[in-house]
């Protein structure tokens, strides 16, 4: 479809004129709040996914082995672990090295180790897997190998984090549908007002042979403008608000790996603006098609 420059100018002028005439502060505010709430959920989801993937990438299976296992036995066990499908890397951690690590982890409470007298830790292997999802299965296979006392990989924690992420994801999706419905309703209502204002003009257009697309374009552009106005307000607020909050949160809780860079947040906010524009066009199109019987 080739559109003349003068025609495009007409579409833009009419769309802008109608948007200016029919958009109220209340409808713009409602739309901005709806998209803002959606963005907040998006940010929570983004952070949870990031935390989840960071934790999952650091998952290791700690394999404790029997004390009386000779060097040959350790070598055999290592081979046995390495032969399991999905195992990436196996590192031997002697009981002395294990104690060193424990002492470092305990920090100021390292004195507790001295109370124990002798080193209570067994020799161990740290096992890394290619895919974090296979950790429970591989851990179970390893625990069946001879010479293994026990295995540990933070059972339950990753599953809980994953379930939480999924729950918030579904909640965000349901909320998104409701809020986008609200956005469509607001844009549809604005378009309805301009439809009433331009009823006579549309009648003449149909009478003299304007195509349905020609009649629809100004309404689509109006929807686009309204969608852009609402979503850009919320996008800017969300971007500025998040970066301001994150600075403070980072100093209070430095151990939580929250997304602190501006780029992914900016991408989300731009995505929200694009979504607002698309919803505006869609709402304008659906409404005008219904009411013009095109």
């Amino acid at each position: 479809m080739r559109v003349r420059l003068s025609t495009m100018r007409y579409f833009l002028a009419e769309g802008w004129k109608s948007a200016r005439r029919n958009v109220s502060l209340i409808s713009l505010g409602t739309m901005a709040v709806s998209i803002f709430v959606l963005g907040v959920f998006g940010l929570i989801l983004m952070n949870l996914t990031s935390i989840n993937s960071q934790l999952r990438s650091s998952i290791e299976i700690r394999v404790y082995v029997e004390d009386n296992l000779a060097l040959q036995g350790l070598g055999k066990l290592r081979q046995g672990i390495e032969s399991i499908d999905g195992v990436d890397r196996v590192t031997y951690v002697s009981k002395d090295e294990g104690l060193n690590r424990l002492t470092k982890q305990l920090g100021q409470k390292a004195g507790l180790v001295d109370i124990l007298g002798e080193n209570p830790l067994p020799d161990a292997f740290d096992v890394r897997v290619f895919n974090a999802d296979t950790t429970p299965d591989i851990a179970s296979l390893i625990s069946d190998l001879p010479g293994v006392i026990s295995v540990s990989y933070g059972q339950g924690f990753t599953e809980k984090l994953l379930a939480t992420t999924r729950f918030i994801g579904i909640t965000a999706l349901i909320l998104a549908i409701i809020l986008l419905g609200a956005v469509m309703f607001i844009v549809g209502n604005t378009v309805r007002l301009s439809l009433v204002a331009r009823a006579q003009e549309i009648e003449v257009m149909k009478l003299v042979g304007a195509t349905d697309w020609f009649i629809m374009w100004p309404f689509l552009i109006e929807g686009m403008i309204v969608g852009f106005m609402g979503s850009s307000v919320s996008g800017i607020c969300l971007y500025a608000g998040y970066l301001a909050c994150i600075g403070r949160l980072g100093s209070v809780m430095p151990f939580i790996p929250i997304i602190g860079e501006a780029a992914p947040v900016a991408r989300l906010c731009i995505g929200l603006v694009v979504l607002g524009v698309l919803m505006g066009v869609l709402a304008g199109g659906v409404f005008i098609r219904k009411h013009l019987e095109i």
């Binding site: 003349r4 003299v208 304007a210 020609f214």
Partner: protein, 236 residues
């Protein structure tokens, strides 16, 4: 050029507006549609702009059955079959010039072609001097002439007029008829529904009379009332 073949139109309410109508109108003809209110005149005209489709039968335009047009083809039909109304349907916020130009702009005529076409149409209806006036600054007759200019701009092949003099006094009505005859002389087929007996009788053009949805009379140089009706009202 225009052929109605066994055309019947029954509205969803059950009212039969046209019943087995057959007729043929040649290119360049001037035809009056007469008959009492509800006889089917407006339905006849609306079938030609594809505002409605017949319940049965075919409406052929230059051999093409327009009842079978796809919705997206209808706008292109309306660029060749234009209509004017008793209430003019002018856009009050546009000047005379812009009202006429609007008809070309919305069908995406190149900008450089719009000016000459509008000037020509305004000249034909005698309103060149009022190009910058707004509709509410014009008389009823002038407004109807603007609506004719808007309908004929771009040279449609058929002009339909639904009681175009219905709101006008006799003198102004004759002015409008003069314009319509001028349009007709350019080669545009004109079909006009009217209740104005003086105009029909004065112009002696083809007259198709509808009564209860049927064509009851089709005279080549007809008058408003049939001879039988005319004799019936004569004294003595």
């Amino acid at each position: 050029m225009i052929r109605f073949y066994e055309v019947t139109k029954v509205y969803p309410s059950g009212a039969t507006a046209l019943l087995s109508v057959n007729t043929f109108i040649s290119k360049g003809e001037f035809v009056f549609l007469v008959g009492s209110s509800g006889a089917g005149k407006t339905t006849f005209l609306k079938l030609l702009t594809r505002e409605i489709v017949p319940t049965r039968g075919q409406v052929l335009l230059s051999g093409r059955n327009i009842t079978r047009l796809r919705p997206r083809e209808v706008p292109y039909l309306r660029r060749t079959v234009r209509m004017i109304f008793q209430d003019y349907k002018l856009l009050p916020n546009k000047t005379v010039y812009d009202n006429v130009a609007f008809a070309l702009m919305v069908i995406e005529k190149p900008r450089r072609q719009i000016g000459p076409f509008v000037d020509e149409a305004l000249k034909l209806v005698g309103l060149e001097s009022k190009a910058l006036a707004y509709p509410d600054e014009l008389s009823g007759g002038e407004q109807q002439r603007v609506s004719i200019a808007r309908a004929i701009v771009g040279n449609p092949t058929i002009l339909l007029a639904d009681e175009p003099t219905g709101n006008l006094d006799m003198e102004t009505s004759w002015d409008i008829m003069e314009v319509l005859l001028r349009v007709n002389r350019r080669g545009t087929t004109v079909i006009m529904s009217t209740h104005n007996a003086a105009i029909v009788d004065g112009l002696k053009q083809r007259v198709i009379e509808l009564n209860n949805g049927r064509i009851v009379r089709d005279d080549q140089k007809g008058v408003y009332e049939s001879e039988a009706e005319y004799n019936a009202v004569l004294p003595g």
